[in-house]
């Protein structure tokens, strides 16, 4: 077993060697511009792009003409929300989203709000992190033009009832955008069945290259139109100008093809490893709390708060395992995870959270090592924690007057 172990597969994933192999010819030999219509170099590039478009569309049950390439999911989210607002602002400027969205959605919404271009409703989630479709229905006004709710959350892995939300959107004639960055390639996605009109996702979360993503834009029932946010040569049917990064797109296509073929088996393997990790930790460490939904979540996700120890110190103690924490000390803002806060997790437990993200290349051996290491480090840090000492002495930590600083 090689150290360090990568258990942060929600942040990014290593590229699958099969993806790299598919990409390689498109750097030096087949380097053409896919928009060059008059020579063989361009034709080869265009063919590769169109093939990738098909592979990507197949994974999400879309038509290849509905795939718009972008630089990644952040750009896709921006393009979807800003593009819809700009195109349909005569109909209304109200947007509905949820409080646990990725910041690419939340900050886009906030920026539109701040500029006075839109009004936004941020729906709460339940204590397991799910949006209630009834809340979506109740938030709709005659000015609502867009609902943007994520498929699966990047911190807690909770999967939203997207199909029900899509149904409501359709019923009310409102467009539905779904940030599916964490879900595509991990769980089955069907834009038809789910009633999705626009969907963001990216390659590097599914063992493809960084720097490329896509926005699915529905072509019929209804035909969705968006205003371009990048002007130029009119690529991607005018929705996103800029020369297509052919090697990245080829890699994205291959990554989708592999997911399509292997997802069913892979998700079972990942869920089994995740469940073993969870059981191994929970059995040994009292006052460890699962964040998110116990069953309805991504197969590779596990998010636990370890009472009385702070998240960053946990990461430091487990430096040969790459993990992520909702602790403020690991974020630039010095605020603990807004996702966990939205679930109603107390600030102190939000500071104590660790996210485990399992992926295609993790092994049982790595999981065993992680279980042992987590138990060792949490135990050591609890010995060092004045809070744990007080709790053991029977002090109710909530009743203490803290000298906050």
């Amino acid at each position: 077993m090689k150290l360090p172990i990568f258990l942060d597969n929600h942040s990014t994933t290593p590229m699958d060697p099969r993806v790299l192999e598919a990409m390689l010819p498109y750097f030096v030999e087949k380097f053409g511009n896919a928009a060059s219509r008059n020579h063989a170099f361009g034709w080869a590039a265009e063919e590769a792009v169109e093939n990738a478009r098909k592979q990507i569309a197949k994974l999400i049950k879309a038509d290849s003409k509905e795939i718009v390439f972008t630089s990644g999911a952040t750009e896709s989210d921006n393009l979807a929300i800003k593009g819809v607002l700009e195109m349909y602002k005569e109909k209304g400027t109200h947007i509905i989203t949820s409080s646990t969205e990725h910041r690419a959605v939340l900050d886009t919404a906030k920026s539109l709000e701040a500029k006075g271009l839109a009004t936004v409703t941020y729906l709460p989630v339940d204590k397991r992190g799910m949006v209630n479709p009834d809340d979506v229905r109740n938030a709709i006004t005659d000015k609502t033009i867009l609902i943007s709710v994520m498929l699966a959350n990047n911190e807690i892995g909770t999967i939203n009832p997207v199909q029900e939300i899509g149904k409501i959107a359709k019923e009310k004639g409102i467009l539905f955008h779904c940030d599916a960055t964490q879900g595509v390639g991990k769980i089955p996605v069907d834009v038809q069945a789910m009633g999705i009109d626009l969907m963001s996702f990216s390659a590097h979360k599914i063992y493809g290259p960084k720097g490329v993503g896509a926005l699915y834009v529905r072509k019929k029932n209804p035909r969705v139109r968006i205003s371009a946010q990048m002007d130029g040569g009119g690529h991607e049917r005018g929705m996103r100008s800029g020369t297509l990064p052919v090697p990245l797109i080829v890699g994205f296509g291959k990554a989708c093809e592999i997911c399509d073929q292997e997802m069913a088996k892979e998700s079972i393997r990942l869920a089994a490893m995740r469940d073993r990790l969870e059981a191994g930790i929970m059995a040994a460490l009292e006052e460890s709390y699962l964040n998110g939904h116990p069953t309805n979540r991504l197969p590779g996700n596990l998010n636990i708060s370890f009472a009385y120890v702070e998240g960053e110190s946990l990461l430091m103690g487990m430096k040969d395992i790459a993990l992520s924490s909702g602790s403020a000390c690991t974020s630039a803002t010095l605020e603990p995870s807004y996702v966990l806060r939205a679930l109603g997790v107390g600030v102190e437990l939000a500071h104590s959270s660790i996210r485990f993200g399992l992926g295609r290349f993790n092994t049982d051996e790595e999981i065993d090592y992680t279980i042992t290491k987590v138990i060792e480090v949490v135990t050591k840090l609890r010995e060092m924690s004045p809070l744990y000492e007080m709790a053991k002495e029977g002090v109710d930590l909530k009743s203490v007057q803290w000298a906050a600083h």
């Binding site: 702070e310 960053e312 403020a328 000390c329 010995e383 060092m384 004045p386 007057q401």
Partner: protein
């Protein structure tokens, strides 16, 4: 964020981690911070003849907070009360190479030292020890 070697060393090998009994003679206890802020430090000193003969800490917080309190106990040992009063957070920042986002950890450690000294003083002056 990369940690300085000294922070890593204190984190891996904390000096003087543990507790004294709060009501023990000559013991001063300082507890600062709050769980909601993500760090709580408990720093204790044991004083004989105006000199700090021993010090202990327990900290809930990030690696830099743990290192700051561990270093504080190291520095406190052997100092007189008056000398201990002079330890500044900036000394801790310098010794541990703390980056700007971690300066609050050193401030907390200085506060903990001051609180422990004040608690000791209060007990020495014959007032009942503060239960906190």
């Amino acid at each position: 964020m990369a940690y300085s070697d000294k922070v890593v060393d204190h984190f891996n090998n904390p000096r003087n981690m543990g507790s004294f009994k709060k009501d023990e003679d000559g013991v001063g206890t300082g507890m600062v911070g709050a769980p909601e802020c993500g760090d709580v430090m408990k720093l204790q000193i044991k004083v004989q003849n105006d000199t700090i003969v021993d010090a202990k800490f327990k900290t809930f917080g990030c690696g830099s907070a743990i290192a700051s309190s561990s270093l504080a106990t190291e520095w406190l040992k052997g100092k007189t009360i008056e000398e201990a009063q002079k330890i500044k957070n900036t000394d801790i920042v310098q010794e541990l190479n703390l980056p700007p986002v971690k300066i609050h950890c050193s401030v907390l450690a200085e506060d903990a030292i001051k609180a422990a000294l004040a608690d000791y003083q209060k007990k020495a002056d014959g007032q009942p020890a503060d239960a906190k």
